[in-house]
């Protein structure tokens, strides 16, 4: 299989671009991340032909995971067709020749920025999330050595205080994305800039979630069937965004995460599904 696949791949690069030493280091960090859910494992982030902060952590994870038998899907803000998603898919395709898809259920490996697909992921699927700022405590403490110690001591008082201040000031928690959550009752984790709407999908999921932060050089993970609870007070429960009364203008769905689109010429506002492949499948199914 290996030799046959070598003939198909680009001779100018190793399979999956990274050298094998780099893949091994990322793989070791990934296994530790799975063993310690929610803990940010440091790793030696590699240079890639795109700038750090543009998904290099997710790409490095994808490149160290991917094999000839995988089917890859890449999404950006729920869309299969955005520049970031298409560029990453082309790049990985160039140096692996793996099959790509836009259908969530067909993919074995999904790289995503800022969304979790609407269709529940299944056992065996791996979702790789690109993370710009992995440290959930960064907003309350700028120094890395201090946040590391806070995690070690499970000292999460400042992040609770931030939620409380938000309640006092605005009467609600105003964090829209990157809403912190507690993993297995031990680590507060940044779920990457997914909307609050997607946080419940992390809890007791059937798939494996891997998070890669290339610029910040961290990898963390949520194995399947792991407890992931969004931070909330007993008397102020966690709430997701409400789209009550709204539905997708294309497929009519009313239970998905909707993007608001504004037409500057007509002044019209309308909503449509953020997950484009889900939306298309609903439309296709209806026809």
């Amino acid at each position: 299989m290996g030799i046959e696949h070598r003939k198909l791949t680009n001779n100018h690069y190793n399979f999956a671009f990274l050298d094998e030493g780099s893949k091994r280091e990322i793989r070791r960090a990934t296994l530790k991340a799975v063993a310690i859910p929610g803990y940010q494992v440091p790793f030696g982030s590699r240079e890639l032909p795109i700038g750090r902060g543009w998904g290099t952590g997710g790409i490095q994870l994808t490149l160290s995971l991917i094999g000839p038998e995988d089917t890859l899907k890449v999404i950006d803000q729920g869309s299969d067709e955005s520049v970031n998603a298409v560029s990453i898919k082309k790049f990985v395709g160039l140096c692996t020749q793996v099959k790509t898809t836009t259908r969530t259920h067909e993919a074995t490996l999904i790289q995503t920025r800022h969304r979790i697909p609407e269709i529940p992921l299944t056992q065996g699927q791996i979702l790789v999330l690109q993370v710009p700022i992995p440290e959930p405590l960064r907003i309350v403490e700028a120094r890395e050595e201090i946040t590391k110690q806070m995690h070690a001591e499970k000292d999460y008082a400042p992040i609770w205080l931030q939620l409380y201040e938000s309640l006092v000031k605005y009467n609600k928690v105003t964090i829209a994305s990157e809403y912190p959550c507690m993993v297995e009752g031990r680590y507060v984790m940044n779920p990457s800039p997914i909307p609050k709407f997607d946080n419940p999908k992390l809890h007791k999921s059937s798939c494996l979630y891997l998070f890669g932060a290339g610029r910040e050089k961290k990898i963390y993970a949520i194995p399947p069937h792991t407890e992931v609870i969004s931070l909330a007070f007993d008397d102020v429960p966690f709430e997701i965004e409400s789209f009550a009364g709204q539905q997708c203008r294309l497929c009519g769905s009313g239970n998905t995460y909707l993007d608001e689109v504004f037409d500057a010429q007509t002044g019209e506002r309308f909503h449509q599904c953020s997950d484009t492949s889900y939306c298309k499948e609903v439309v296709d199914h209806a026809q």
């Binding site: 296994l31 063993a35 310690i36 094999g67 297995e184 031990r186 069937h225």
Partner: protein
């Protein structure tokens, strides 16, 4: 005199490593799920191909290892991965073939710190014997409970680990591999009912 050189191992460091890694990742993500590693180690010609394949997938000159009870494998790993052999107390990976050494290994293996729990050992243990002990596991990666028939080696290793009373996130992670190449993992958070 003309000697014939034969290629000892055809293990593809790119493609076979990737497959073996995905199997180990699946095992770590789904603790106590038994997964067959054997079919991916056919290209390795040694006494314990599944162990050597695991070593070739995870080890290189950036990590250290220790082998208890199998000197030939220790040499093979050194020559094929360039990883450093080290004391049990300092090794990142410890391969255990001698059941009577499990207690010493578990009490000595590094278990990380509260700030750096990843600086802990992964124990790769030869799982030999009859699977006569039903063990029920629970924890992250398991939907409720998972029961398997385990050997005395597995039971002893987990009992000895629990006796250490590591303060999570400190701890050690187990990979158990049988001679036939059947593998399952017990990461540090997994408990036995």
């Amino acid at each position: 005199m003309i000697s014939t050189l034969t290629k000892k191992n055809n293990f593809d460091i790119v493609f076979d490593s990737q497959k073996v890694f995905r199997i180990i990742l699946e095992a770590m993500s789904n603790p106590a799920k038994i997964i067959d590693l054997g079919e991916h180690t056919d290209d390795l010609f040694c006494a314990y191909p599944a162990f050597l394949a695991t070593a070739m997938t995870l080890l290189d000159n950036e990590v250290s290892y220790h082998v208890c009870g199998n000197d030939p494998l220790a040499g093979e790993i050194a020559s094929l991965t360039l990883a450093k052999q080290d004391r049990i107390e300092a090794a990142d990976f410890v391969f255990v073939f001698a059941p009577d050494e499990i207690e010493k290994v578990i009490s000595s293996a590094k278990y990380g710190t509260l700030a750096d729990p990843q600086k802990s050992a992964t124990l790769i243990i030869y799982d030999d014997g009859d699977p006569i002990h039903p063990l029920t596991f629970s924890g992250p990666g398991i939907d409720g409970f998972r029961t398997i028939q385990a050997t005395s080696t597995v039971k002893a290793a987990i009992t000895l680990r629990d006796k250490q009373e590591y303060e999570y996130p400190q701890g050690i992670d187990f990979l158990f591999i049988s001679e036939a190449g059947e593998l399952f993992a017990v990461p540090r958070l997994i408990t036995v009912a």
